[in-house]
Symmetry: C3
Subunit: 163 residues, 3 copies
């Protein structure tokens, strides 16, 4: 079993809100930029979207870990953004966000997945982020899974260990 | 793009549990009251409900941001409370909670939404809250969206900025 | 109403990742073990599973709180792990994890529940945990609900109160 990670004392939080019409991923990026947050974990996210763009996996036995992602799904009607979780860190020097959301459409149906650019905030989006140290979480191409994956604790000066 | 928020050092957590029969929103309020938490973000919530009252949005093109909420839906059978996220802060001087939950009924069906008063805890409810400074998050009527919305960083003495 | 809990200053976070093929619950346990985390709350969890084992409740009016759990459901195809929340603490001296997940199968269908041993990480699993003090959260058989339940603040030397 491989387990990697780090522990952080005296945690910092970033709280914020996106207003109507904001592109969702760009808004999270702008909030992090303003408060100089490079790495972290999105642990609170509720509001609504007027447009959602997302994907999810399907089995592909010929792939390294047996999955592929569909081409983007686009929902052009408003959806309640029930909750979300995400990981934030640099990817080739730019801040990148791995974001998963649960949504609910106007009929109460489940919509969820890995979010892509093009989602638009409807009424509001309330965000809570656990702030991690700089360079503690970083995304890069991973040979094992053949995906771009966040790795932990690759370049840190914090209390840490790796199994 | 409008982005508002604040960053907080040395985060505080509130952990707690609600017991069977507790009204859900009142229980979160009582936990916050006991530990003098006025503002925060609910980031962990799992357990079960014996009754759920909730709503979600539907398109209403004549409204400011194009949505309305349905009249309450009521589920009178037990449901697994899979997870929840929420925002806590004062609204006209009283603590208010914006709470979104994902539930699963006895057939494994998705139920989710914006929770309303009248939900009852079944076996247990385990809660984790990120505590924000007093007066850092506040709910009031928002002209832009025409909803009562939590705003961030309106009256604070903490390290903060607004775009 | 019964409400129990505790508040903690200067929060610690544990961030980490599980790699392909890792048994999910064992991986979380190993991450906690490595960083000496006995109690906490899982508040961020996103990735994918190649196998999922889970259950959820159904009504059982003859039981103490009116519910029972189904025998395990097993999903043998890959699923997006949209998000998860969990509680971590000792149960009879061993670390135990109460874990609820939202998943999405290859058709975008909702799958969720109380996770059981046997889940296998597919491409990755990114984890964020709020670390609670030792002995602050503990699982034991609960007479009221007739389930094994996490209780808060039973043996602590931290700032705390109980209603």
């Amino acid at each position: 079993m491989q387990v990697e990670g780090f522990i952080q004392d005296g945690g910092k939080f970033l709280f914020g809100r996106l207003s109507p019409g904001t592109e969702f991923l760009s808004g999270i990026d702008a909030l992090c930029e303003k408060f100089n947050v490079q790495c972290g974990s999105l642990v609170g996210c509720l509001g609504s979207l007027s447009r959602a763009v997302y994907t999810y996996i399907y089995p592909a036995p010929d792939q390294a870990v047996g999955i592929k992602y569909y081409e983007p799904f686009i929902l052009e009607t408003p959806a309640e953004l029930i909750s979300a979780q995400g990981t934030i860190g640099p990817n080739k020097g730019k801040r990148d966000i791995h974001l998963h959301c649960v949504m609910c459409d106007m009929n109460g149906n489940f919509i969820a997945g890995h979010m892509l650019p093009g989602c638009i905030v409807c009424a509001t989006m309330e965000l809570s982020i656990l702030v991690a140290p700089e360079n503690s979480i970083e995304r890069s191409f991973d040979d094992e899974s053949q995906f771009s994956i966040f790795r932990y604790n690759t370049l840190t000066n914090i209390k840490e260990e790796k199994l």
